[in-house]
């Protein structure tokens, strides 16, 4: 308050002060920005620039060979009113997100709890269980997955031991998407590590007090572990949901880029890729990309809004 009244009492001094403030900023912050420059150039040139371009292109017809034609919102109109493949791919991706994310988180939590019992050689197990996450998004694993779930693949050879004739999992439209969901669950490593860190934060005396009061293990899990772990669950859920929406490589490799059999693995991202790079409709593909961005944004916003009802921070 006092400084403020002083300044207003002496307006002439302030006018003199302004350039010094600027020069101070220049002197103090310029080196920082200079060091940031490589990243800034990349961010503006490789992220913001293409994003703005793609927003513009989403309102055009653009086939790469001729210059873009402005078509207004008709790409978006077509998507929502006259494109069954848009809805088909949306269904596939939603199904994938809804099933793969909770199952993966549950599995990751289960393994994290097993590892949290103070077993010997923990670093080794941790590394082993993390391994699939490093490999999972790779082309090699997708090809391996194809072999495992093919008609005469590993899974069916195992089933044959029990006299069960399994279908060709990857080429049957009823099961093909599930092979991809299992592939995604298998990459439980990174949420597991985060869960493990979260579990380590829970004070042991709480469990001791609870068992003295005669609480069963299940009750301890529901009343102590889960509530105290909710911030970690929340974080993992958001990250994994975004990852699931973006999932592309496995479906691309396993179906040979087609989304077949009968579009049962036509992920939204795969449809986007087809429109852009198989059919050269860059405008429409850009519009698809922006709808995906909006969709992920909405899902994340809902998670954040709902979080105050179920996420317990240590207050």
């Amino acid at each position: 308050m006092t400084t403020r009244s002083l300044e207003s009492a002496a307006p002439t001094r302030e006018r003199v002060a302004t350039p010094t403030v600027w020069s101070r900023i220049w002197q103090n912050d310029a080196p920082g920005y200079l060091f940031l420059l490589p990243w800034l150039i990349g961010f503006l040139g490789l992220t913001i620039g293409p994003m703005v371009t793609s927003l513009y292109l989403s309102f055009t017809d653009f086939d790469l060979l001729t210059s873009p034609d402005w078509v207004g919102a008709s790409n978006y109109m077509r998507m929502f009113t006259n494109d069954p493949k848009f809805w088909a791919s949306m269904r596939v991706t939603m199904f994938f997100v809804i099933f793969s994310v909770p199952l993966k988180l549950a599995f990751a939590l289960m393994v994290a709890m097993l590892l949290n019992r103070g077993i010997r050689g923990l670093p080794l197990y941790r590394a082993l269980f993390y391994l699939p996450s490093l490999l999972g998004a790779s082309v090699a694993i997708a090809i391996l997955w194809r072999q495992i779930f093919a008609g005469d693949g590993l899974v069916n050879k195992l089933l044959a031991v029990f006299d069960i004739a399994g279908p060709s999992w990857i080429s049957n439209p009823k099961t093909s998407l599930w092979t991809l969901i299992i592939l995604s669950i298998w990459q439980f490593g990174s949420p597991m590590i985060i869960f493990l860190a979260g579990l380590r934060q829970i004070p042991q005396d709480m469990y001791e007090a609870a068992s003295l009061d005669g609480a069963s293990r299940w009750r301890q899990f529901v009343k102590i572990t889960l509530p105290l772990l909710t911030p970690v669950v929340f974080f993992n859920a958001i990250i994994q949901t975004i990852e699931a929406f973006k999932s592309f490589t496995p479906a691309f490799i396993i179906s040979g880029g087609t989304g077949n059999p009968i579009n049962s693995t036509l992920f939204y991202t795969l449809y986007l890729y087809q429109e852009a790079f198989a059919f050269f409709r860059m405008g429409y593909a850009s519009a698809l990309a922006w709808v995906l961005l909006a969709l992920v944004g909405i899902f994340t916003a809902i998670s954040f809004l709902s979080s105050k009802y179920w996420v317990h921070y240590d207050e």
Partner: protein, 429 residues
């Protein structure tokens, strides 16, 4: 000689490169005197192609810098380069895309070089015609091929029936299939792959009926009744267990090793004449080659000698004449011909064919003889397809055939949807 670049020189050099890149200027050394060539194919094709560019360098002193990609990656890359004004001088082009690229001036008409840099007097007339768009020459055919069925000959011996010849019909599939089923060889091998969603097979069947996939003005050349009959025909074969099941067929994603022929699930597979070499390379059983089945004994005209691929010259190339000279060398030099063989199809100049023929292995001989002796199977070259044909194939023909196979749609539903969907895509493009 050792060249040392200290850190300051390196920094200056790289920033100059970045500046040049930012200004859209190609560094001078990339322009030099060399030609840039881009093509699709595998390592085997690349080896042959680079053999010829080496020859060219030795003969004319011009460097030709090649780059090759798989088919699926090729078109996005080429379109991106073209959009960026950075297209190569020599571009391998397909019958499916030539109209689109020509109409957008992404490839250059070559008529001004004919008789000069390009000597085409002995070039097969039908192959020359295939490279024309609106009367102007945009592509030089690198070889002719035709659709063809590949036949696993030992499988027929095991079943104990004669392997089919060019005379075979769709009715024969049923009788041969029953023989296969009762013999039950190799864990239930079927006589034929499911061809219901193979575009060239539909095309061939339509042409025998006097129809076509597309008309000269880029419209659909067949109607609902044709499409329904097509799906019904294959449903009958599938229901009788004569062709492979939908579930097996869906394993085929287009890669050679995933096909029913290589997987040992069918004895006959619709394919192309220049692909025998590639299939035989990874199969133990001896393969034979026959035409696609006839719709009735004696019916023909479904096949045609298709330009398998072209070389075109980039529309923005600064060295069109030099590129045309290389094309001429590629198609007519005797030594180049010996290197290339029939890997891109049967050469289109009679003299070149005569040079090539004695040097071929037996599989290439089979392909060469097949294309040369199509007889009454041969019909006229159809007009090049509209730009949307690729999308109609990928998103309708392949998916709908599969949906009928899995019982998700009846042949009637699929037939109607094929026509309405294709018209929708054609009107959109």
């Amino acid at each position: 000689m050792t060249t040392r670049i200290d850190r300051r020189q390196f920094l200056m050099g790289t920033s100059a490169l970045v500046a040049a890149g930012a200004a859209g200027v190609m560094p001078a050394w990339a322009q030099a005197d060399s030609l840039r060539l881009i093509f699709w194919g595998g390592q085997a094709r690349a080896d042959l192609t680079y053999g010829v560019t080496d020859l060219y360098k030795a003969a004319k002193g011009t460097d030709v810098e090649g780059e090759f990609l798989a088919w699926n990656d090729y078109w996005p890359k080429l379109a991106t380069q073209t959009a960026g004004g950075n297209a190569p001088d020599i571009i391998q082009m397909d019958y499916r895309y030539i109209v689109e690229y020509a109409k957008r001036n992404a490839i250059a008409p070559l008529d001004e070089f004919v008789g000069g840099a390009l000597q085409l007097a002995d070039f097969d007339a039908d192959q020359l015609e295939g490279g024309k768009v609106d009367g102007k020459l945009y592509g030089i055919s690198l070889g002719a091929n035709s659709v063809a069925s590949l036949v696993n000959l030992p499988a027929f011996e095991e079943v104990g029936i004669e392997a089919p010849t060019n005379a075979w019909t769709y009715d024969d599939i049923m009788t041969m299939g029953e023989a296969f089923n009762s013999a039950n060889i190799r864990g239930g091998m079927k006589v034929i792959s499911d061809g219901s969603y193979t575009e060239p097979m539909l095309d061939n069947w339509l042409r025998q009926r006097g129809k076509a996939l597309y008309t000269a003005d880029g419209k659909l050349g067949y109607d609902e009744d044709d499409a329904i009959e097509w799906y019904t025909l294959w449903s009958k074969l599938r229901d009788a267990g004569v062709c492979v099941s939908a579930e097996d067929q869906a394993i085929d994603t287009g890669a050679v090793e995933t096909t029913m022929l290589v997987q040992g699930k069918s004895a006959i597979m619709p394919s192309n004449s220049n692909q025998l070499v590639g299939y035989q390379a990874i199969m133990q059983d001896t393969l034979g080659m026959i035409g696609y089945p006839r719709i009735a004994p004696g019916a023909g005209g479904g096949h045609y000698r298709k330009p398998s691929m072209f070389f075109s010259v980039g529309g923005s190339s600064a060295k069109k004449e030099a590129a045309a000279e290389f094309l001429n060398f590629f198609i007519s030099d005797p030594e180049a011909a010996k290197i290339l063989g029939v890997e891109r199809g049967v050469p289109c100049i009679a003299a070149t064919r005569d040079i090539v023929a004695p040097t071929l292995d037996s599989q290439s001989q089979i392909a060469l003889n097949f294309v040369a002796n199509l007889g009454d199977l041969l019909g006229a070259l159809p007009p090049s397809p509209p730009a949307a044909a690729g999308e109609i194939d990928a998103s309708l023909i392949r998916t709908l055939g599969q949906e009928v196979g899995f019982g998700a749609k009846t042949p009637e539903e699929a037939g109607r949807e094929l026509i309405s969907g294709a018209n929708d895509i054609l009107s959109r493009a």
